[in-house]
Amino acid sequence: MRNDRDQHLSDELLERYADADLAGAARASADRHLAACPACRARLSEWQSLFLQLSALPQLPPAQGFAERVLSRLVVGAAGAAAAPGKAARRAVRVPGWARRLVPAAAGAGALWTGGVAAALFWLYRRAGATPGGILTWAAGELRDAFWGGIVRVAEVITLSGVGTYAVPLLLLWAIFGAFATWGAWTLYRLAGPTARVRSYA
């Protein structure tokens, strides 16, 4: 600033002034000019307004459970690396977002399925008077039969018990449910013991 009066403050200087990046003589000189020059005061206020808005920008948080999602991806990546060392070790296996969001549903289905089997066995035991050993023997016999034969026998048992009209759709639903539950159990297995697997990787 050779002459406070003659030369307006540069944009860069005003920016530094607004950023509180001016001190000493430079600051004093700028203050003198600003006190006498409404044009530079107006330009300064634009910078000040910008810095004010920038300083008010908040940090934006990720959705809840971020850490869990990172760790589960790390574990899935580690499992993949253990299975195929070398090239695959560098890159985590990608589990698509929709699949990760379905994990709790699949786990719930697994629990329901297990509960359902237990309840059915109990019901058979009470209703048909079969002993647990008897049910086991019967099941072992069924397993020895051909696959379709087994299905027919189960259908027969269900028909005899009075829910006959719903037998086929029920069986179908049960099969779909079973597949879903198996997938849930597999996912749970992969996620089990994160510490051990993370350790093996890190």
Binding site: D11, E12, E15, E46, W47, S49, L50, F51, Q53, L54, S55, A56, L57, P58, Q59, L60, P61, P62, A63, F66, A67, R69, V70, L71, R73, L74, G77, R90, A92, G97, P194, T195, V198, R199, S200, Y201, A202
Partner: protein, 196 residues
């Protein structure tokens, strides 16, 4: 192990020996700054969540390459920034290769954010976005080129020193200062336009 008491470098050493609590603490310390930066770079919440998770996974898989002379935060920011920029480049190649203009990306971003504001009822996600990045200053930041955006965000949201920003962005300090000056001049012009 009292992980919250450890400093960042000690945590990394601990995490390197496979301590899950140390990994969790590192995530706790950096999830907000990392997500914030990526979100404002890609301007789409779900994509940002995904990229931020991947950035942490990358960092954790390369813990043994961390150089203790640097700050842990710089190292994590660097991975996050590079990952988000890679994503933006991939997307630009996918969608806008014809123009090849360095501003094409920004124009696209601008259109996206305008859409989010223009149709707040379109989807819950769009309405959410409009609310989070809808203010005049956020819109203006969205129109800066990504490198300017990172410089401004690291300086003003994260309060990082020029040296650190230079480290994170792999640029000389002079370039960082130039970026910041140009970025703020552009922001001032955009916000001035809005006022008129």
């Amino acid at each position: 192990m009292d992980t919250p008491r450890l400093d960042d470098r000690e945590l990394v050493a601990q995490a390197r020996s496979g301590d899950e609590a140390a990994l969790r603490e590192l995530i706790r310390r950096f999830e907000r700054p990392v997500f914030s930066l990526i979100f404002r770079l890609v301007r789409h919440r779900e994509t940002a969540e995904d990229l931020a998770q991947e950035a942490f996974v990358k960092a954790f898989q390369n813990l043994d390459r961390f150089d203790p002379r640097y700050k842990v935060s710089s190292w994590i920011f660097k991975i996050a920034h590079n990952h988000a920029i890679d994503h933006l480049r991939r997307r630009r190649v996918d969608t806008l290769s014809i123009h090849g203009s360095p501003y094409a990306l920004d124009a696209e971003e601008a259109r996206e954010s305008e859409l989010a504001v223009a149709a707040p009822g379109a989807s819950p996600e769009a309405a959410y976005e409009a609310r989070e990045l809808g203010s005049a200053i956020e819109q203006a930041i969205g129109r800066l080129r990504p490198a300017y955006r990172t410089a401004v965000l690291l300086r003003h949201v994260e309060g990082r020193a020029y040296e650190e920003i230079a480290e994170i962005m792999d640029l000389p300090i002079g370039t960082v200062k130039t970026y910041l000056h140009r970025a703020r001049a552009e922001l001032k012009a955009m916000l001035g336009h809005l006022r008129e």
